[in-house]
C-alpha cells in the first residue's frame, strides 16, 4: 500500500490530484463544522458584498455568506456525485462482466442493447428519468447512476473479455464452479483496477451532470447550497457582483480537475509497465 502511494504521488497528476481530492473530502467532512455563518441566513443589509475579513468570499444576492454556503454545499454536491458514480459503476460492472462471461448470443444481445441505450445522450436520459420520478436530489442521483451504467458496462466488458481468456477462469470452469461464483470471485476482482480509474474520472462528470440538472431546475431545489444551483441562481444577479458566479464555479472546477488528475495518476500507478 505504501509502495502504491509512493508510485501515485511520484507523478505530478497523482500528487496534485490526491491533494485536491483530499482537500475536497476534508471540506465534505469538516466543512459544516467550520463554516462561519448559517448558509441560509438572509442579511438584506449585506447583499453583494465583495471579499472582506468578515465575509471571506463576499455575500450573494440575499446577503448569505458565499464561503459558508460553499463549505456546506460540498456535501450535497460531492457526496451525491460519488454515490451516483459508485451506483452506476456497480450496475455497469455487473452487466459488463456477466456479458463477457456469458459470451456468444447473450453477449451480442446485451451489448447491442447497451449501444442502443447509449445512443440517448446521458444528459437527456437523466432528464427523462428525473422527469419521470419527480425533481429531487435523490431522484437526480438515481438518474445519473442509470445514465452512467451503460458506459461502465461497456468498459467493464472489454476488460473482462481479456480476463475471461485467462487460465484461472478456465480452471474454475473445469472445477465445475457456478457462473455466479466465477463472475464474482474470479473475474470481478481482476477487472477492478481499470474500473476504479474510470470511476474516478467519472466522478467529475457526475458533478457536472448534477450541476446541469440543478441548472435546468430538476436537481437540488432552492435554497439548498448545492454548487450547481448556486451558479444557476447567480446568473440573474451576475451584473451586480461577479463573485456570486465565480466562486461556486471555482469550487466545481476544483472538484472536477482534482478527480480527473487523480484518475490519471491512478492509471499510471496501477499500470505495471510504467
Amino acid at each position: 500500500m505504501t509502495e502504491f502511494m509512493k508510485r501515485l504521488l511520484k507523478t505530478p497528476q497523482g500528487a496534485i490530484g490526491t491533494f485536491l481530492v483530499v482537500l475536497v473530502l476534508a471540506i465534505v467532512v469538516f466543512g459544516p463544522l467550520v463554516a462561519p455563518y448559517d448558509p441560509e441566513k438572509l442579511s438584506p443589509l449585506a447583499r453583494y458584498k465583495g471579499p472582506s475579513a468578515a465575509y471571506w468570499l463576499g455575500t450573494d444576492q440575499y446577503g448569505r455568506d458565499i464561503f459558508s454556503r460553499l463549505l456546506i454545499g460540498a456535501r450535497a454536491t460531492v457526496v451525491m456525485a460519488v454515490l451516483a458514480t459508485i451506483a452506476g459503476t456497480l450496475i455497469g460492472a455487473l452487466i459488463g462482466t456477466a456479458s463477457a462471461f456469458l459470451g456468444g448470443r447473450a453477449d451480442e444481445l446485451i451489448m447491442r442493447t447497451i449501444d442502443a441505450v447509449m445512443s440517448i445522450p446521458s444528459l437527456l436520459f437523466a432528464l427523462l428519468v428525473v422527469n419521470l420520478l419527480g425533481s429531487s436530489t435523490v431522484n437526480a442521483l438515481v438518474a445519473v447512476a442509470i445514465a452512467f451504467a451503460p458506459g461502465m458496462a461497456r468498459i467493464t466488458r472489454s476488460v473482462a473479455l481479456s480476463v475471461r481468456k485467462q487460465d484461472y477462469v478456465n480452471a474454475a470452469i473445469a472445477r465445475g464452479e457456478s457462473s455466479g461464483y466465477i463472475i464474482r470471485r474470479e473475474m470481478l476482482p481482476n477487472v477492478i483496477a481499470p474500473i476504479i480509474v474510470e470511476m474516478t474520472i467519472r466522478v467529475s462528470f457526475a458533478v457536472m451532470l448534477f450541476a446541469t440538472l440543478s441548472f435546468l431546475g430538476l436537481g437540488a431545489q432552492p435554497p439548498a447550497a448545492e454548487w450547481g444551483l448556486m451558479v444557476s441562481e447567480a446568473r440573474r444577479y451576475m451584473h451586480m457582483s461577479a463573485g456570486i458566479l465565480i466562486w461556486p464555479s471555482v469550487a466545481i472546477a476544483i472538484v472536477a480537475v482534482g478527480f480527473n488528475l487523480l484518475g490519471d495518476g491512478l492509471r499510471d500507478a496501477l499500470n505495471p509497465r510504467t
Partner: protein, 304 residues
C-alpha cells in the same frame, strides 16, 4: 444494427413516456372536462387500448413518417422537430469543425514534444477544458464577452440565410462553449494514440532507414494515429448532443434541444418521443457512417 438500436430506443422512450404521470386526454381538454368527454377522447385517441397495442400503433405511424401531434400546440410534431434539428445541426457542425481544427494539432504537438513544455501546456488546456459544465462556461462567456467587452451578442438566433454575419456573430459563443470539452477530450486521445504509434517498430524502422522525422510523422505515424479519432469523434457526438441541449437553452437558440426541454417541462408526450427518437437516430447514423468510413480507410478492418 441501426434498426435494432432504434427499436430499443423507441421501446425505452415509449416506456418512459407511458409511466410519466400525464394524461394526454386531460392535457388536451383541460382540467374541467367532463368524464364523458374525456372517455370519448381517450377512445378516439386509442388511449383505452392495451399498452402493447398503443406501442404498435405509435411505431407503425413513426415508420410511416408520422411522429404524432403535439399536445401543446396541436401541430404535427415531425416538421417542427426536423426544422429545429436543422438549426442544431448547424451549431453541431461548426462545433465539430472548430474542435477538429484545434484538437488535432494540439494533440500532435503534445505527442511529438512529449514531456516538454508544449506537452504540459496542452495537458493544462485539456484539464481546464473538462473543469466546468457547459452552463457555467456559457454564463461566464456571456458575462465576459457580451456584457463587459460588448464584442458579441449575448443570446438569440439569426438564420444564416437571412443575415450571414449576424448569424455567425450569434453562433460564436455557443460554438466555443460546446467545443471546449470536446477539444479537451479529443486532443488527449490524439496525443495518446500518436505516442503509442511513435513507439512501434515500423516507425523505428522508418527512422533507421534514414527518413526524416517530418516524413515519418506525415507518411507513417499520422495515418495510423488519426484513424481512431474518427471513432472517438463519433462517440463524442452523444456528448455533443447533450451539450447542445444546455447551450441552446442558455443562448435561446430554437433548436431540437430547446424543443425537448420545452416538451419535457410541458409533458408533451408525442414531442418528447419524437425528440428523443430523432436525437438517438442522429447519434446512431453518425456512428454507422464512422464505422463505414473507418473500414474504408483502414482495409484491415472487416465488419460482418
Amino acid at each position: 444494427m441501426i434498426v435494432y438500436t432504434l427499436l430499443v430506443v423507441s421501446l425505452i422512450v415509449f416506456a418512459i413516456t407511458q409511466i410519466l404521470p400525464a394524461d394526454a386526454a386531460v392535457m388536451m381538454l383541460g382540467e374541467n372536462a367532463t368524464p364523458e368527454a374525456l372517455d370519448a377522447l381517450r377512445q378516439t385517441m386509442g388511449l383505452d387500448a392495451p399498452i402493447w397495442q398503443q406501442y404498435a400503433t405509435w411505431l407503425w405511424h413513426v415508420v410511416q413518417g408520422d411522429l404524432g401531434t403535439s399536445l401543446r400546440t396541436g401541430q404535427p410534431v415531425g416538421p417542427a422537430m426536423f426544422e429545429a434539428l436543422g438549426r442544431s445541426l448547424i451549431l453541431a457542425f461548426f462545433s465539430i469543425g472548430l474542435m477538429l481544427i484545434l484538437a488535432i494539432p494540439l494533440g500532435i504537438i503534445a505527442a511529438i514534444r512529449r514531456g516538454k513544455i508544449a506537452d504540459m501546456v496542452v495537458s493544462l488546456i485539456s484539464y481546464a477544458g473538462v473543469a466546468l459544465p457547459e452552463f457555467v462556461t456559457a454564463t461566464i462567456a456571456v458575462l465576459l464577452f457580451a456584457d463587459w467587452m460588448k464584442w458579441l451578442p449575448p443570446t438569440g438566433y439569426v438564420p444564416l440565410t437571412e443575415d450571414f454575419f449576424g448569424g455567425i456573430a450569434h453562433l460564436v459563443l455557443p460554438v466555443c462553449v460546446i467545443s471546449i470539452i470536446l477539444i479537451a477530450h479529443v486532443s488527449r486521445m490524439v496525443r495518446s494514440e500518436l505516442v503509442d504509434v511513435l513507439h512501434t517498430d515500423y516507425i523505428r524502422a522508418a527512422r533507421l532507414k534514414g527518413l526524416s522525422r517530418g516524413h515519418v510523422l506525415r507518411h507513417h505515424a499520422l495515418r495510423n494515429a488519426l484513424l481512431p479519432t474518427i471513432t472517438i469523434v463519433a462517440l463524442d457526438v452523444g456528448y455533443l448532443l447533450g451539450g447542445v441541449i444546455v447551450v441552446e437553452e442558455i443562448f435561446a437558440i430554437p433548436g431540437i434541444g430547446r424543443q425537448l426541454i420545452v416538451a419535457i417541462q410541458a409533458r408533451d408526450l408525442p414531442a418528447i418521443q419524437a425528440g428523443v427518437l430523432i436525437m438517438a437516430a442522429t447519434y446512431s447514423i453518425v456512428n454507422f457512417i464512422a464505422d463505414i468510413l473507418y473500414a474504408w480507410l483502414d482495409k484491415r478492418i472487416q465488419y460482418d
